[in-house]
Each structure stands twice: as C-alpha cells, then as structure tokens.
C-alpha cells in the first residue's frame, strides 16, 4: 500500500519509441506557450499581491483593530473551491467586470491570501518581540524596524508562503475554470481541454515537464526547511 501510494509518480510517456519530437512540438506550440505565459503571469502576480498585502496586514495590523479580524482569512481554506468560484463569478458579473487575466489574478490572490495569512501570522507571533522593542527604543520608526529587522527574520516564512501560493496558483483548476472566461487560459485549463478533446503525445511531454518542475519546487522547499533547522540548531 505504501509503495503503491507514492510510486505513482510515474512518467506518462508511451514506450512506443523514444523520441524527443514531442518535446520540440511542445516548446513550439503557440497554445502551450501562451497558456504557460498566462499561468506564470497570474501566479507571479498573485504571489506578489498576496504576500505583500498579507505582510502589510500583519505587520501594520498589529497596531490597529485589524489584528482581531485576521481570523476572517481562514474561511478561504475551509470553503470548497466551488463556492468561492461561484461567488467570484457572480460578483464579477454583477459588477460587470469582464472575465480574463485580471479576474484570474484577483481570484488567485484571494486563494493566496488564505494560505499566506496563517503562515506569516504564525511566524510573526513566534518572533521575539524584544528585537522590535529594542529597535524602536533606539529610535527607529516602525517602518524602519519592519524593513531592517522583522522582514529578514520572517524571510523563511515569506519564501515558504510565496512558494506555496505560486504552486497553488499554477495548479489551480476549479477557480480558474470559472473565472478565466473565454479569452484567458492557464496551463491546467489547457490540459483539461486537450484531454477532453483527445490527448496528444504533446500532453505527455507537457505532463513530464510539469512533474519535473513541481519536483524541483518541492525540492527547493524541502531544502529550505532543512536549512532552517540547521540555522535554528
């Protein structure tokens, strides 16, 4: 059962004949490139937006009532994606925002916030507050303190959160399905459409590459954890 459960990281290529033809076709395929571009843009923007806003909310919210409201962010993780997607679609329709890259980014940022908040908040709470107190005592403003002291201390959490949001956004299907509209297409949407229409070996190549890329990201993530442990020790 154990081997079964994780040995399915099998590479989906046909053993008909070993050829790199499909990889070439994949690289030159316009659809894939544009879907990839869209995915990357959306993922990148979502990461930047959600991490930045999250940091602002946590770092500066401490001094206002916002702090107590931070629990509101946990609902995103608890709600099924379908409900979120439906809400987003209805909202965008109501406010007459055309579905596209912008709405994709908005939706993914929402998702990202849901992951960013707990991670950053936990890390922030763990910080030794005496550092910030000392810094403020020595005359730095709150902003300076944040920039020079808190941020470096929170870097591992920031990086972890960024990686998570990036991957979540890249892999996201359900919300993108509803929110992308007729013009924008992300990689998962493209894969879904192609599989339904009839798969080509190009998809095989794409899948393999995606698998490799995900492995890489997980590896980086794992290495970061190890480094963190070594630092702490």
């Amino acid at each position: 059962m154990i081997t079964f459960s994780f040995n399915k990281s099998s590479i989906p290529t046909h053993w008909v004949g070993f050829t790199t033809q499909w990889y070439e076709e994949m690289i030159f395929s316009v659809d894939i490139i544009s879907a990839l571009k869209t995915s990357l843009i959306v993922a990148g923007s979502s990461v930047v937006l959600s991490v930045f806003m999250g940091l602002c909310a946590i770092l500066y919210g401490v001094r206002t009532f916002v702090e107590r409201l931070l629990v509101l962010f946990y609902a995103t993780l608890a709600t099924p994606d379908i409900v979120i997607a439906v809400g987003l679609v209805s909202f965008f329709a109501f406010v007459s925002i055309p579905l596209g890259i912008v709405t994709l980014i908005a939706g993914h940022t929402l998702l990202g916030l849901g992951y960013v908040m707990p991670i950053l908040q936990t890390r922030f709470a763990e910080l030794d507050k005496r550092y910030t107190e000392a810094s403020m005592d020595l005359g730095a403003t709150y902003t300076q303190t944040c920039w020079h002291i808190v941020l470096p201390l929170m870097m591992p959490a920031i990086i972890a959160a960024s990686l998570i949001v990036f991957v979540i956004s890249l892999d996201d299907f359900l919300i993108s399905f509803f929110v992308a509209g007729p013009h924008a297409q992300t990689l998962p949407l493209y894969i879904f459409a192609t599989i339904r229409a009839g798969a080509t070996p190009t998809i095989n190549a794409l899948s393999t590459v995606l698998l490799g890329a995900s492995s890489l990201i997980v590896l980086i993530f794992a290495l970061l954890q190890v480094r963190k442990k070594i630092e702490v020790v």
């Binding site: 399915k8 919210g61 698998l211």
Partner: protein, 275 residues
C-alpha cells in the same frame, strides 16, 4: 504642545491604511460575493421551487457518496502510511516525505492524466495482468466509477497523510512505552493510546478531503467520462452552459448547506470520540 501636522497625522494613521488592503480584498472578493450569492438565492427561491426536485438531490447525494467514500478510503490508506512514517522509520524520513508529498504539489490534472496510462486498455494494469495471464482481454477500467474513486483517492491521500503524520510525529513516545511497559500488546496500545490521540489529525485530514471532494469537478468528469453529474459538474453546467445564474446560485447554496450540515455532523461525531 505642538499641534500635530498633517504629515504626522497621516503617518500616524497610515498603519490602518496599509493594513487594510488585504482585509478589503478578502471582504470584497470572498465574503461579499458569497453573501451576494446567498442573498440572491434566498430572494429568488419562490420563483425557483423546481430546484428542490429529486434529480438535484440525487446529484447531491452522489457527490456526498463520493466525498464520503473518498475520505474513508483515504483514511484507510493514509493512516498506515502516516503511522509507519512517524513511528517506525528512523532514517530517510525526509526522503519518504518528499516522495509522498510530490503528488500534493503536482497539478492534479497531470496526476489524473498519468492515471489514464495506468488504467487504459493497454496501459500499465492491463498489460501487467495480461502478461501474468490472469485475464485474456483488457479490463475496461477507464470511464468507470472505479477510475473516478481511484484517482480521487490518489489525489487526496496526501491531504490525509499530512495531518495524521503531524499529529503522530508530535506524539509523546513515552506514552507508548509506558503502555507497553504496563503489559499492553501492540494492538491494545494502538487501540487505547495511539488511536484516540490521533483523532485530531484524523479529523483534520477527513475534513480536508471531504469538503473539496464534495465539490470536485475535474476528476469525475475526466475519469468518469462525463456521464454522471456531480455537484461541481452541475454548477459549472448552470453557469457556463445554461447561463442560468439563478438556478446555479440556488443550487450552490443548497449544496453548500448540505455540505455544512455534513461537516458539522463529522465534527460532532469526532467530538464524541474525545479522549
């Protein structure tokens, strides 16, 4: 005392403005839309009483079944894995974790697609069985409920493994030692000590699998051949094909309520198991 300058006041109050965007975002894109959907549904229910028909309930029931069976299967598969990982394997724990979590990080479309090759008429399973002469003709595995459950299981098992593993890892091993010292067998130790202590992890994992699988859209469509309708399917149909937002909204709320009730029930059931 100096009168505060405008700049000073802005700087003083800026914390609020800086911190606000995230909150505004969440409120605007999450709470508002969902509230909007709920409100819309409630106000339109009188016009759409046909929403509460048998077909819809059958679909909701099917999704509930899917979610429930997936969760239970995941539990059955994940618990032994998490158990071995947390309590038995001493070395290379991180390597095992890496491989186990890999499906979690990969887009599940890629995962579902990989299963196409396993379940295909000339894919891995069939080739294996035919080589071993267990069957003469390929088993028809794709586009069946079996395929749907199998892929759901595979995609959601990491969600179940992680919480259980976390809980088991933090377990105070001395409790287990004490139990063994007092004469309990391995089975008794497990039933009376490890299992009850791992309930929080089981509950988290169960919910992490149950809630998303209820609304799942991609896997049932891809692996099940699109013949059956599930909740996710139907909602997407209402919104994208039939362009019938009202019906979609009401059905979403209905499903949401059912899901909420189910989740509360699960929570209550687990609370009863309190140590």
């Amino acid at each position: 005392m100096k009168k505060p300058t405008l700049g000073a006041v802005v700087r003083e109050e800026s914390s609020l403005f800086v911190a606000l965007p995230a909150l505004v975002w969440q409120l605007l894109l999450f709470y508002l839309p969902i509230g909007f959907v709920i409100g819309m549904s409630i106000s339109y229910v009188p016009y759409y009483t046909n929403i509460f028909n048998l077909l819809h309930f059958k679909i909701i029931g099917r999704s509930l079944m899917l979610a429930l069976i997936t969760s239970i299967l995941c539990l059955a598969c994940a618990y032994p894995v998490a158990y071995y990982l947390a309590l038995q394997i001493k070395r290379y724990k991180n390597i095992w974790l890496f491989f186990l979590m890999l499906p979690f990080w990969t887009s599940f479309l890629v995962l579902a697609y990989a299963w196409f090759f396993v379940l295909d008429n000339y894919g891995l399973i069939n080739m294996l069985l035919m080589k071993l002469h267990i069957i003469k003709q390929p088993l028809y595995l794709l586009n069946t409920p079996f395929a749907v459950y199998m892929v759901m299981l595979y995609c959601y098992v990491p969600f179940m493994i992680l919480p259980i593993y976390t809980v088991l890892e933090k377990l105070d091993k001395r409790l287990l030692e004490a139990s063994r010292d007092l004469g309990a067998t391995k089975w008794q130790t497990w039933t009376n000590v490890t299992l009850p202590l791992s309930y929080p992890g089981i509950r988290t994992g169960f919910l992490l699998v149950f809630v998303p699988s209820f609304g799942e859209l991609a896997i049932p469509v891809l692996m099940g051949g699109g013949r059956n309708f599930y909740v996710g399917n139907l909602i997407s149909y209402y919104y994208l094909v039939a362009q019938d937002s009202m019906a979609g909204a009401i059905f979403t709320c209905l499903s949401g309520v059912v899901l909420l009730v189910a989740t509360l029930f699960v929570n209550w059931w687990f609370a009863r198991q309190r140590v």
